[in-house]
């Protein structure tokens, strides 16, 4: 394979463009090796040589953003804005979900797909709603995610939506061999899709099933693209990377509520700043019966479940 690339490189050179320097030659060679290795012909040299997001300078980030925006423009025929808003100072996001109110209507699941530019075919969903039996309580062995009755809630059942718990000790971050996923200062665990190698260790490590893999090229129609995106959030993903809930980073870092909070018809979803004593989330934590899902694993989620009644 290496031979093939070695023989190819001079050919490229002969046709003309990037033979100016040793550095550029190496760049082309590396990119073609990358193409052969990843089986992905679309990976550009710039993309392949892009540094880790946290090590990029301001100008490098600007270049990358404008490159991404022009790529998305060409692909989806509309202006997609890729934001890089940093974490707000003095903010750690927290989320609470009222198990006594959720009726399992899955409005959140589909609002999330719409907001976050997930693949539609097959549809990637970041929220999974589990139907559980009241007699059993929170018991995963008596839960069903494919429930589809005429009307919800069903008699004798309650519903538990599960999504990324934005752990304070995220096992997914621990296992990532390349550091493509990390925890931001505001508590959001993010993925750099340009750094992810698609090994799916994080999916195996996550006890909540919150990470999802793009097995195929994500199918997203032009009309379905939400153009307000964030680099670490809902920008359209390539094939072969892992993605997850980011508390709608593109919305929450601008002060908006996540899409799932806004759509919930029962008001079961509460979101806010854990460091602000007046926030709804703090009111919940201080006055309600709260639990963390799989607390015994010591993942220390910033996502809480509570009983409002």
């Amino acid at each position: 394979m290496t031979d093939l690339n070695l023989t190819q490189a001079p050919d490229d050179c002969a046709t003309g463009s990037s033979c100016g320097s040793r550095r550029e030659f190496l760049g082309t060679a590396v990119a073609s090796v990358a193409m052969a290795l990843t089986g992905c012909g679309k990976l550009t040299k710039e993309e392949f040589l892009q540094n880790h997001f946290k090590q990029l300078s301001k100008t490098e980030i600007e270049t990358i953003i404008s490159r991404l925006e022009s790529e998305y423009k060409a692909k989806y025929h509309k202006d997609v804005k890729v934001g890089v808003e940093p974490a707000l100072p003095g903010v750690i996001f927290g989320y609470a979900l009222d198990l006594s109110r959720c009726i399992g209507c899955r409005r959140c699941v589909h609002a999330c797909v719409k907001e976050n530019n997930q693949s539609r075919e097959p549809e990637v969903q970041w929220i999974r709603v589990l139907e559980m039996e009241k007699e059993e309580g929170v018991n995963l062995q008596h839960s069903e995610q494919y429930y589809n009755p005429e009307e919800v809630p069903r008699e004798g059942h309650f519903y538990m939506p599960v999504q990324c718990q934005q752990c304070k000790k995220p096992p997914c971050v621990k296992v990532c061999p390349v550091g493509a996923t990390w925890k931001e200062k505001d508590g959001i665990v993010v993925v750099d899709y340009n750094w992810c190698i698609g090994c799916r260790y994080c999916m195996a490590a996550c006890p909540y099933g919150a990470r999802h893999f793009n097995w195929g090229e994500p199918h997203l129609k032009d009309a379905d693209v939400n153009p307000a995106t964030h680099y670490l959030g809902n920008r359209p993903r390539p094939k072969g990377v892992v993605e997850k809930c980011t508390f709608c980073i593109q919305r929450t870092r601008k002060g908006l509520y996540p899409a799932c909070v806004e759509i919930c018809p029962t008001g079961s979803r509460k979101f806010g700043n854990l460091l602000d004593p007046k926030s709804e989330i703090r009111q919940v934590l201080e006055t309600k019966r709260v639990f963390k899902f799989k607390e015994e694993l010591n993942t220390q989620p910033n996502f809480f479940y509570f009983y409002g009644v």
């Binding site: 707000l88 903010v91 009222d98 009726i103 399992g104 209507c105 899955r106 409005r107 699941v109 589909h110 075919e121 097959p122 549809e123 969903q125 999974r128 995610q145 494919y146 429930y147 589809n148 009755p149 005429e150 009307e151 919800v152 809630p153 097995w215 195929g216 929450t252 002060g255 908006l256 509520y257 909070v261 806004e262 919930c264 018809p265 029962t266 008001g267 509460k270 979101f271 806010g272 700043n273 602000d276 926030s279 709804e280 009111q283 919940v284 006055t287 309600k288 409002g308």
Partner: protein
Amino acid sequence: MTMRLFRFAGLMLLLALPAFANPPGKKAEASAQEGLQVPGPPFSEGVFPCSSCHDGKSLPVDTKRRELAMHSEIVLQHGPESRWCLDCHDAQKRDRLHLASGAPVDFTSSYQLCGQCHGDKFRDWRVGIHGKRTGSWNGAKQYLLCVHCHDPHAPRFKHLKPMPAPARPEAIQVWKGGAR
């Protein structure tokens, strides 16, 4: 008979005067002072102001509990044995509600009326635990009145049709042509 009607209308006018002197905006300000940005109540089309029919002239006030000829679309499922229209709707100030004490309440502050019995929910709602808030988690929030989600005449939350279930892994493989 006509004299009586006129006298009655005069009485209604007198009763209505303080309501006009005390413009409805004032109560809304009160809720704004509390930091509650509540939207307008969700009236069915054409029912408000109530006084456009209940003007005290064409329809004399009858405070006797009875089956109504009008408003047949309303089926009271909110403690119907012990409750009827005028326990919440005001017989005199037709465009307002009243508390158990008799104190009038605007439709825009109807949460005060609900809060008389449902105090625990009211407390939770004020701090954002009960009910839904939209807008900005660190700024201006849009609240909803109790009646936006709960029909005051039949407050139990309605069942909904769930949106589609996720695809099963088998289905995804079929879509991919079974190749993996």
